[in-house]
Symmetry: C2
Subunit: 462 residues, 2 copies
């Protein structure tokens, strides 16, 4: 079918202002960081509700028309790229928070709502949506669900998967699968929402979600501790889990080079502790007891020093100090800006093996010509380590060498090439390092049974 | 193919002692409570490893032979029933705990291991497997995973789904899908383990699992509180979440009739609090701080009294008192023994609506001729309420009337007809009260794509 004909079909579904074509497409883009590259597409569609999404999908399916789905365009694996023969559907107009259920502690919203808007809205009711990652001010909840986003609070609250209670999605043929339930437990048949969470929009377009909320914590305290021994990092984690139990909300790690960079004169951050230790552990405590929480946390941190679990430690005594400490951990854009070219990773490794695997990986990267800076850091308690690697060129061989080093070391310990970001287009080549051939065949079988014409987000994942 | 011929094919896979036929089948049964009913089956197979499971499935698939899978036979929805034309595969010989990873806090085991054996083995290493339900001494881990079992610790640790890090399963055609990873985060392609968890053995036979473990708590305290107002139950839950945060490990509810029965002269339990309140809340605190935990918990409970959040409350001051209090909650066999005939339910309802829904349901049940006792209780913080309903006969119309009352009230608030037990054979008729026609069609589509010959646990779920 010609472009004109397919657009005319969409005109019977959407009003004209919701169908972006021609010149106007040039002001649209496929990634939030790439606003200078105009979008390639037959047209971009802006449905206002689930019925319109369903009608669009049915039309595309009937006409073998490929569709690429857009959320907040913060995806890091190329998933939102499109070609001039594809139709793009953006959920941005489906941005209503439908209900905040204070008693039941749930929020129901459309897919296009920006995550930070949900966080702020529920906070007014003293509730917490624990999704928390750098892109929260742009990322949409539908994208977070489709990619099973992670972030800084996974250790306590789990990935996005564990926050989704109910979900509505439209299948590639337009069928509506709606289960907007507020239930913590439901074993009535297959848990279909699990199929849509984390499958990167290849099995259906998520249109609405019900998320679980938590009581908003009243207190938040932070400590920074140092050691030269990875075994001590593990012991410290165990000690903290023991002492402050589930009030332990984050346990993050920076390696020496990364810390040095974050407290260098390129940033505003006070370093608090010397920059000559191998490991820097960032510990967060959140609780509900104003009177006792600080004492409980301080006591635990003091004990780690007395028992020699760490070489030194400092407590964030006030809001300013805490912001400074978390800035050192979170403001990772500083690491990417160091070199013109960089590669970023989000591998997953069994927690106990992180020390040795990262040492080995760093050594191999240091011997790789073209690599200039190596910044590892991450959510150590979740086994999720990020790398930002600065390079002197954008050369394909260099890119490939670096991928090979990182992913082979990951594969050796049965790790994952993606803890959080997903596979998209960019990591397809390396999927076989995380998953067996039979696993990938099963993924393809499921995709084929639900999207036999391969029209929805085609070419993503495998 | 004749029975003799299919058995001869199994003889090339298993030694003879692992193929139970003829007279010997009469000493086998399909449910742990029904040891007087001999198993119907062509034969019962006892594979010793995954390769044998794979070969059995391939043989059955090639010969259109239906298979029913047996674990610990504690399922409550008829899932393990078989006919004389079906082959039964029991995982009982695959009962090795393969590895307890103390540093990484994981346990890897075969499917046939009894849950209590895992609990005890990991406890020796100061670790906790938080799966905890009445049948843990017989139930096998493979069954718990296949049915996504719940229990008493779901509020803090989640259902079985949230404990599974890695999984190995065999597809109906014998293909091995192995992903025995110890990763907390893995977004490398579809999360295939989610397809096998909770699908009641219809998509594959789970052969091995990697489970997440937790530090074993050092302290455990219990309180029992009473009120006549469901809103106060909700306020109490919120207060406790606030004050003792994630140390709150259980928040369970008994209605008046249930409490009365549990502290009647038919049991050994001391009642501690008068039996004239409407609601009895059981609160559990677990932590890691010997010195402060009791004070923290006592203070929180005292505050609930001072603030009028509850009408009365008592703390379990020693092990004996705690066992008594939890006995009142857990020893529910007493409720089923009251009448000769009974029906049991495990519905899921949004937490905020439990008060009104259960009131309405009880009133309707009271007007249902043949109903003699009504005992509601459950995991209120998870929204999961159980009913044990005593009757004067096993009449089908009565059974159907009771089902209709419970499930219709559940449907009205978008609840689930099964929070924990699953659908199996017994609840198929009512699945439509929890799931839409299109959802059930999608389940069938997935089943058909993975098990096109419908040989594995056929007829279960839908």
């Amino acid at each position: 079918m010609s472009d004109i004909n397919i657009i005319s079909l969409f005109e019977s579904i959407l009003d004209k202002s919701s169908i972006i074509t021609g010149e106007k497409l040039k002001s649209r883009f496929y990634h939030i960081w790439k606003t200078d590259i105009p979008l390639e597409s037959i047209c971009l569609l802006l449905p206002k509700d689930t019925d319109q999404v369903s009608a669009i999908l049915k039309t595309c399916n009937d006409n073998n028309q490929e569709i690429i789905v857009h959320g907040g365009l913060t995806n890091l694996v190329g998933s939102t790229k499109s070609t001039k023969n594809q139709v793009v559907v953006s959920l941005e107009k489906m941005n209503n928070i439908i209900e905040i259920d204070e008693k039941g502690k749930t929020v129901t919203c459309e897919s296009g709502v920006i995550i930070e808007d949900i966080i702020n809205s529920v906070k007014e009711k003293d509730l917490l949506l624990p999704l928390n990652f750098g892109a929260r001010g742009s990322a949409q909840i539908g994208g977070a669900v489709s990619t099973n986003a992670g972030g800084l609070r996974v250790f306590k609250y789990g990935m996005t998967r564990s926050l989704v209670l109910g979900l509505e999605a439209v299948l590639p043929d337009g069928t509506l699968i709606s289960s907007l339930k507020k239930l913590m437990k439901d074993n009535s048949g297959y848990d279909l929402k699990q199929f849509f969470i984390g499958s990167e929009g290849t099995l259906g377009i998520v249109t609405k979600v019900v998320l679980r909320l938590y009581q908003h914590p009243k207190t938040r305290y932070t400590a920074l501790a140092v050691t030269n021994d990875y075994q001590k990092v593990l012991n410290l984690l165990r000690f903290m889990e023991d002492k402050i139990s589930k009030n332990l909300t984050a346990f993050e790690l920076l390696w020496n080079d990364t810390y040095k960079q974050m407290v260098s004169d390129k940033t505003m951050y006070n370093k608090y502790l010397p920059d000559n230790y191998k490991y820097y552990v960032f510990i967060e405590y959140m609780g509900g007891d104003f009177e006792n929480d600080y004492n409980t946390f301080e006591k635990a941190v003091m004990e780690t020093l007395e028992q020699g679990l760490v070489d030194d430690a400092v407590l964030g005594k006030n809001e300013k100090e805490q912001l400074n400490i978390w800035g050192i951990r979170e403001d990772v854009a500083v690491l990417a800006e160091e070199k013109k070219f960089d590669q970023q990773f989000d591998i997953s490794i069994p927690v106990a093996q992180i020390g040795e695997v990262i040492d080995k990986t760093i050594n191999e990267l240091k011997n790789c010509k073209g690599v200039e800076t190596i910044f590892p850091f991450g959510h150590v308690a979740d086994g999720n380590i990020h790398f930002i690697i600065g390079k002197n060129s954008d050369d394909d061989d260099l890119k490939s060498n670096i991928n090979e080093i990182i992913y082979s070391n990951t594969e050796l310990v049965k790790g994952s090439i993606s803890a959080e970001h997903g596979i998209g287009l960019d990591k397809k080549k390396y999927l076989i390092k995380s998953r067996s051939k039979d696993e990938i065949e099963l993924m393809k079988l499921i995709k084929k049974s639900i999207d036999p014409k391969n029209i929805l987000n085609p070419g993503r994942v495998f």
